[in-house]
Each structure stands twice: as C-alpha cells, then as structure tokens.
C-alpha cells in the first residue's frame, strides 16, 4: 500500500517503470486478485447456505415431487343394464396404446412406426396423424385399443426409443348389441379441451385412455357412471421409468344404471327395421316403462368409442337415411291417420254419439269446398271410420266440434309435449290450432286447415315417442308418462276419467283395424289369445304433383306409421312404428306385428326375422360392417375428416333434424289428398316374403 502512495505522489504522471515498481504492482494486483477469489468463495458459500437452509423446504418438496409420480388409475365405468340386468354397456379388459402429441419429436414417423408394428390400416394411420397434428399437446390421442398380448408386447419392448407413446392395460367400453343401442346409449370418447376446462382441469380427464360419455345416456349419466379414480404412487426416473411402487389405492367402479329397456327386444326391433330407416317404440302400459327405443340405421358405438374414423364418419354423413339421428326423439313426422282414434276420443268427449254416421262419397263437402277421401266408404260410423280410416268422417266431425277442441285433446295426450326423460334432446313437434297459426304465420285458420289437421296432416308433427305415449294413454285412459330408468318411483298414473265404454269402444275399433275389416289385417298376431289393436297411418311429405308417394326418389315417398297396443282388451304393451319414406303404412305394421310377436313368443319372432335377414344380407351389425368395407374400398382416400369435437357432429345432426321436420310444412298450406293405405307397400323390405312364414304359423 505504501508503494501506491509513493508512485501516486510523483509530480509527473509519466511513470518510471523499473523492476521495483513492477514488483510492487504485481504485489498489489495479486492481493486484489486474491481478494476477488476470496470474495467469490464467500459468495459461493453464502449462496449455497441460502439454497440449502433458507430454501431447503421448497427444494425438498420439489425433489419429492420429482421422485414420486402420482398416476391416476381411471375408474371402471359403471355398467348400463337392461331391465333384466343384462348389460347394454359393459367394460372389457384390454391393452391399448396412446400417444401424447407434445412428447413426440417426429409425430408422423412415430405413428408410421407404430402403425406398421400393430399392422393398422392406412386410413386409420392417416386419421391418427391428422388428429395428432391438430390436437392440443396435453391430450392423449388413442392409437389403438383392444390389442392382443403379442401386439402389446411387441410395442412394449421398443418403448425406450418411443418417447410419448403410452401403452397400457385398461378397460374399454363394450356394447354387446352395438348399433341397436347406438342412439339410445351413445358412446364414450376422450374429453376435449372444453370439457377439460369445464371440469376445472380435472387430471383424470387427460389420463391416457380415459373416456367420458359423449352422447345419449353415457353423457346424461356421466356423474353416476364415472366412479372414483384410484391412484398409484411410484418412484420414477426423469425419463419416466418406474423404479418401484410406493402405494396404490384401487379405483371404485361407477354405479350401474338400470334401464327399463328390454335388451333383446331393443335388439330385435332394431334388426327388424332392416333396410328401412325408422324407429320402433314399445312401452309398458302399467308403468310407462320404455321397453324399446330402436332407431335405425344407426352407428356402432363400439367403433365410435375407439374414435370416429374419417371414412366411417363420411359414410354415415352421406347416407340420406341419417344414421346419426336418433329418430325416436328427433324425428318429426306428420302423424297421419294414426291420431284418428285419439281424435275420436275428443269427439266422444264433445258428446258425439259413436253410432252417428255420415255418408262418405269418396270425400265430403266442408263449407263450400269438396275434400276428397282416399276411398268411397259409403255410410260411416266411428268404428268404421277408425277401422277403414275414412277421412270424410274426420273432416266432418272435426269441423263440427271445432279443431281447438281436438287440438286440446291431442295436447293432453302428449302431442307437442316433452316428457321427463334423461335424454339430451327431445323434439316437441306441433299440434296446430287457430291461435298457433295466427301467431306463427299471421294467417287465419281456414277450413282446409281443420281438414288437413283432422287426419294428422298439414302442420301436425309428432315424434315416434309421442305417438307411442298417446297410444298407451288412449289404450288405458290413464296419463302414462314414459320412464327410462328403473327406480322405485313408479306411481299409479292419474286417469283421464273417460267413460269405460268409451275406452272399450275405441279399443274395439282399433282391434278391428287389425282383426276385423280394417286397414292392417296382416298385422294380426300369430299368437293364440293375444289380439293386437292398432291404427295405420300414411303421411305425405310432398305434393301429389311431385311424387305418388310410393315410387320415385326415396325422400319423396310417404312415411309409413303404425300405433298399436296389445292385448286389445287388457292393454299391457303399447307402441309406435314409424318408417321414414316407407311408401305408406304397409311398411310399418308388419314390423309392429313381428316386434309384438317377439315380445309374446321370442322364438316365433326370431324365426320370422332370420328369414328376412337372409334376404337383407345379415344382421344390422353385419350389414354395417360390410357397407363400411365397401365404402372404404371405394371412397377411402377422398373423405373429409369429421369435425374436431364430437359435440359438433351431433349439433349438426340435430339442426338437420329440425330442418327435415319442416319438409311436410311446405305442403301444409294446401289441401292434402289422402292416399289409400290399406295395402302393404312394395318398397323394401318386400314384406310379402315375410307373410308366408307368418301365415304358415297361423295355420
């Protein structure tokens, strides 16, 4: 330090440099360097003390959370059971493979590699690539499930080189009767980003392989079916290799849901619809239990639950028979003549004597205009009007009592109403009346509106479920509500307080439709002592100038409808069959007949079905698979991928269903010229071939 001052004390700044000053400088600066080194050492020691003491707790926690990995064990989903306890949706143990897009360094190459390892089809590989490309990083994308052990093992041994690929043992949803319950039960799929956010970023939702309900009952009962996830604490390395298990808590399976649906009946009805597009609803008249809610054609929920494939989606989208629409709830059709018995009940209530007759001269003059009937029935009373579906009778009496009164009865019978059911979407339909028309179109109610509405045409719209409910209510005289879930809440339904003989009269008339001189004589049940009562309906969808309703383009053909109950004198079951564009009621009542036959005598019903399926080329499931294969072979490369979110698919389907329901409104402002609906239609399935078997059975 002395030298510092001495050199600084020189008068001239031009320093004299010699060995001594250099040595002094060296000493000074080496002290400086030594101090810097000591300072750094002190700094390091303090820093280390800070990390190890002040921040010890924080880093100890982080070290633990590094070391211990908590994996959720997805809960097994609750089963969905039919009324007799057999599963409509269950779980199957299987092996599966997912990828986490964010962790894939080269997604396409990796998917190719997995694809060739598992021998996936090219279009499936293309789908996965597409999905991985657009998915948000955290969400696992399913590559394949239901793998056998060899495939699983082949993949597992290569795992160290496959970052982001997650093979695991798990459970996958299984629907034993596949397409038959597609619309009713829905399907499951991985949660999307919105659902993940909605549930407060529940980590379970992004657990690879975990699926939630996406449609139908699977979605409605998500909370009950889900169960409680288990957890596994494991010690893991940085690369995710598990060193050892620390502790495991088992999952708790979700609660089962028991439906009122009769599984075999549901399957039978779905298969019986065959090549047609339509729905079958069967209810229990005592409890309102829905035994069957079949809607065909449908999708296979098993395959949807593996992820909706582009080819499959395109095939279903392009089908004009809309396999994605649940026609039981979202199909709206003019009910046609099927509501005539109900209208009769309103006439009775208004004090019309059932014996009171009119003359049908191939039609009837209402006001100053002549409205045609589909046939010339001569003298017609109420029984004959129902049995032979005489339109003139309804023109006359609807005009006489006023349609407001008729519409009020229809509303009380559930038309235009929703029922308390755990379903995503039910369509209301329409019961037109003067004030409704005034409000909706700003036009006056005209006599021809009464004429149209009196025979279930015009603005009238009903869903198959509503038709089945009105049929059950009419058969029993009780306000029966449909029930889909088996629980203890069955109460005796309130009564409409109709007179006993009025109910008996209508029952008899509807029985005569089938068993007397009616319009559906071939719907007679081939079972001793059980007589079916029903009412046919043929609903026009376009004007006579466009189509005759039986031939020509499918979408212009008449809808075929049939409502029924059995046994006619002590109703136990009631229901409705609606065949879209079936060409008339002849397409509907043979199905009702076979379904009811199956209900009373399964063997007889199945025999009739097998005969038909031989002609159709297999069961509904088999045909769906065949069609898919053919479609994939033909169009596989050109399809457009499905929307990203499953919800979009079904929102679109619903919107289109509403649009489709308006089809018949276009001709509602005109007079409907009713059609003969006595003969069974010639459109597929040719039910003539079904008859010999039945006739033979009857002999």
């Amino acid at each position: 330090m002395k030298s510092w001052f001495s050199s600084g004390g020189l008068t001239k700044r031009s320093q004299v440099v010699n060995a001594v000053t250099l040595k002094n400088t060296f000493d000074r600066r080496s002290v400086l360097i030594g101090s810097v080194q000591g300072g750094v050492a002190a700094l390091l020691a303090v820093r280390m003390g800070y990390l190890a003491i002040a921040e010890n707790e924080r880093y100890r926690l982080e070290s633990e959370s590094n070391r211990v990995n908590l994996t959720l064990i997805p809960p097994r989903r609750g089963w969905i059971l039919d009324r007799n306890g057999s599963p409509l949706a269950s779980n199957r143990a299987d092996f599966r493979v997912d990828v986490i897009p964010e962790r894939l360094s080269e997604p396409d190459a990796m998917i190719e590699q997995i694809g060739s390892l598992l021998k996936l089809e090219p279009d499936r590989i293309a789908d996965i690539k597409q999905e991985v490309a657009v998915s948000s990083g955290y969400q696992p994308v399913e590559v394949a499930s239901r793998l056998n052990y060899e495939q699983f093992a082949a993949l597992s041994v290569r795992l160290p080189d496959m970052q982001g690929v997650v093979p695991q043992r798990g459970f996958s949803r299984f629907y034993p009767i596949g397409p038959s319950v597609g619309h009713l039960i829905g399907y499951v799929g991985p949660a999307n980003a919105e659902e993940y956010a909605e549930e407060d970023r529940n980590p379970l939702l992004v657990t690879p392989g975990y699926k939630i309900g996406k449609d139908g009952l699977e979605k409605q009962f998500e909370k009950e079916l889900r169960g409680t996830p288990g957890a596994r604490r494991v010690e893991v390395t940085a690369s995710g290799r598990i060193i050892r298990d620390l502790e495991t808590r088992e999952d708790i399976q979700g609660d089962p849901i028991q439906l009122t649906i009769d599984g075999p009946l549901q399957d039978y009805a779905s298969r019986r619809i065959g090549l047609e597009s339509g729905s079958v609803v069967v209810m229990d008249c005592d409890t309102g239990d829905l035994l069957c809610m079949a809607s065909m054609p449908s999708f296979d929920p098993n395959s949807f639950s593996d992820g909706i494939g582009s080819v499959e989606y395109a095939m279903l989208r392009e089908d004009e028979r809309v396999p994605l629409r649940n026609k039981v709830l979202q199909g709206l059709y003019p009910p046609g003549s099927t509501i005539k018995p109900m209208h009769c009940m309103s006439f009775l209530e208004a004090g019309i004597d059932p014996e009171e007759s009119i003359i049908c001269g191939g039609g009837r003059r209402i006001g100053n205009r002549f409205f045609r009937c589909h046939s010339n029935h001569g003298r017609v009373d109420m029984n004959k009007a129902i049995a032979q579906s005489c339109d003139s009778y309804f023109y006359h009496f609807a005009q006489q009592v006023g349609f407001d009164r008729v519409a009020d009865m229809a509303t009380r019978f559930g038309m235009g109403q929703q029922f308390p059911l755990p379903v995503g979407s039910q369509f209301y339909g329409t019961v037109p009346n003067p004030s409704w028309k005034e409000e909706k179109f700003g036009r006056k109610w005209e006599p021809y509106d009464t004429v149209n509405a009196s025979i279930g045409q015009g603005y009238y719209l009903a869903s198959p479920l509503q038709l089945a409910v009105q049929s059950a209510r009419l058969a029993t005289g009780n306000i029966i509500n449909p029930r889909l879930i088996m629980d203890d809440t069955v109460s005796k339904p309130p009564s409409y307080n109709f007179g006993a003989q009025e109910i008996a009269y209508i029952r008899q008339a509807m029985s005569d439709v089938v068993n007397g001189a009616g319009t559906a004589r071939r719907a007679r049940l081939p079972i001793e002592g059980v007589e079916l009562a029903g009412k046919t309906g043929t609903a026009q969808v376009v004007s006579l100038s466009v189509s005759d309703g039986r031939s020509g383009p499918w979408k212009y053909r008449d809808h075929g409808l049939f409502v029924f109950f059995a046994p006619f004198d002590k109703p136990k079951y009631a229901g409705a069959v609606v065949i879209e564009h079936g060409g008339g009621s002849g397409s509907a009542y043979p199905i009702a007949r076979d379904v009811m036959t199956f209900l009373f005598d399964p063997q007889k019903g199945l025999d009739a079905l097998r005969e038909l399926e031989k002609q159709w080329g297999g069961t509904a499931q088999e045909r769906l698979e065949k069609r898919y294969a053919a479609y994939a072979a033909e169009r596989g490369a050109t399809v457009t991928p499905p929307p990203r979110r499953d919800e979009d698919i079904f929102d679109q389907v619903e919107a289109e269903a509403r649009l489709a329901a308006q089809q018949s409104e276009a001709i509602a402002d005109d007079v409907i010229v009713p059609r003969e609906d006595q003969t069974a239609s010639g459109s597929p399935p040719p039910d003539a071939t079904a008859i010999p078997g039945i006739v033979g059975a009857r002999r």
């Binding site: 320093q15 060995a19 060296f26 030594g34 390091l44 190890a52 100890r60 982080e62 590094n66 070391r67």
Partner: protein
Amino acid sequence: MSAQRSGIIPYPIARQPWGMLIPLFALVAFGAAVLYSAAGGSMQPYASSHVLRFGVALVIALVISALPRDFVRLMTYPAYVVVLLMLVAVEAMGALRGGSQRWLQLGPMVLQPSELMKPVIVVTLALFYSSLPNSMVTNWRALFVPGAMIVMPVGLVLMQPDLGTSLAIAFGGGVVMLLAGLPMRWFIGAGAAAAALAPLVFLFGLKEYQQRRVMTMFNPEEDALGAGYHITQSKIAIGSGGIFGKGFNNGSQSHLQYLPEPHTDFVFATMAEEWGLVGGLFVIAVFSVILRWGMGVARASRDRFASLIAAGMSATIFFYIAVNLMMVMGMAPVVGIPLPFMSHGGSSMLTNMICIGALMMVRRWNQNAPKGGLSGT
C-alpha cells in the same frame, strides 16, 4: 521447512508442499466417493478411473515440477506454436469431416489441444512479459503482441465451438497481463468496452442455444423443461440436501437421473444433495486452500517469469472452480466447464494437474533461488 533438516523424512518427500497436497488428495478422494454414488453405488465406471487418472496426472505434475527454469524458457514459444498448430489441425479435421471436433487422435492417445492451450498461454505470456524491457510495459506493443497471442487460440477454440474453454484461455491470459503491470486504465477501458459490446455479442455473436442458456440463468423456472431444466434440477439437488444432506448414496436427484451430467459438470450438485452444506463448505474450503497456496507461491517468487506463471496457473484453476460453482448454483449460464479434481473427465484432470505441477515447479525454483537477492532476468 523444519522437516528439511530433521532428516527423518527423506528430503525429496519432505520438500513437497504437503499443506496443499493433503487437502488436494482429500478432495480427489471425496470426488471419487461422489462419483461412486453417481454411478449408483459402484466404483465403475467413474470412481476407479477418476482415481487412476489422478494418479497418472500426479506423475505428470511431478515431472513438470522437476523441469529446470532455463528448459522451460527455451521450450515455451515452440510449445505455443505447436499447440496453436494443433488447434488449426483440429479445425481443419473438423472442416474435412463436416462437423465440429475438439480433439486429435495421436496413436492411442486422444489429445484435446484447447485444454493444453490453457497452461501454455500462461507460460507464453509470462515469458513475453519477463523478457520485455521494464520500460516497455506501458507501451502499446506490450498489449499488441500478447493480445494477438491470446486472440488466435481463443478464436480457434470459439470456432469449435467451445465458449467455456475459450473464456478460460482469455481469462488466464488476461490475469497474466494484469499482473505484468499493464496500465490499469487499459483494463478499465477494456471492461467498459466489453460491457458495451456484450449486448451486441449476445444478440449477434452467440448461437441461439447459447442465448437461451444466458437468458434462463435469470429465470430458470420460466422454462423448467427446456433450457432451464439443468439449472432448476441442480438447484433442487443442492437445496434439497439441506445442512447435512440426504446421506451417502441416497441422492434421488442424481440416482433417478433428474440431474443432468451428475458425474461431470454437475458433480457438485450430486455431492451437495448427499452431503449437504457441510460437504459444500468442505469443497469450497479445500479450493480456497489450494488457490491461497498458489497465490502465495506467486508472491513468494522474486522471479518475474516464475511469479507470473504461478499467478496465471492459479487464475486458470480459479476460473474453472468459480464458473462451475456459480453455474450449478444458478448464478452463471450453463457453459460446460467441469469442476477441478471432482468431475469425471481426463482432459480437465490433466489440465488442472499441469497447473498444479507448474505451481510446484515455481515453488521449487523459489526454494533453490538465493534468498533475498535480486534475481531479475
């Protein structure tokens, strides 16, 4: 010194600097224990080769310590030229093979010339300044020639690219220049220029991954799975060790591979996790003893050449230690510099032992030099 005359211990052994060597041996043994744990409780593959390399390097250091002063002075410039040519050769080989390369294959031996350059640059500059007439020290030529001597190897090493080693070379050379008595204002000016240029170098001179490393030093948690991963995991290892550590062989951060490079660059974190603050303070203390001894050797020398060598060598070792420890504690970017005597790695062991050998050599010269007399040049 008293042992010198006791006669019980033979002179060649007694004259060794045991005050430095015993802590050094302890540190290497401690390093071997940490490497044993880093290998999952096994001498293989790190611990045994660590001890073996130290043994070989110690022999080399003893050989160096026996070199006479005139021989060193004679060989200094040729050695500098040879190492520089080897750096050029490495660069040429890399260009030929179409990739970056840092080492030369000489028969069975793998040589990393950039490592050799660290001690060589110190000796070269020490020779230059000791042979420079005293009056010339403040002349611009005293800056220009050594500047070129530093810039050439630093540039070549940067091209490899190896930022850590090039900084070590520049640091060693810079310390020698500082101690040689160059005007202080030049260093202050250079420091100011460096501060001004740093942002420019950061933006245009560094590769993207290097920029990221610098940025993550300031906020490692920002990118805990990317570039900040190393620093974060290292801090977790050190912090979770606490005062006494998790116990030998019980470090989960290193054993479960959360800690990157647990046996080389992050060996200190591996040690701290298992031995805690106590182990860390021991290591820092040993390094302090070694560096204090090194600076003491430098100051004790009356020979300008020798004292510059000793100070430069100490500074080179210091640079390794400081950068490595600051890095593992999250105070410096990840530059890939190993911790002397503890990290597993032949090159760094050799370089640091050459520095130790050179310090022992200077100490021997000091002992042989006439006491109190002016040695000069």
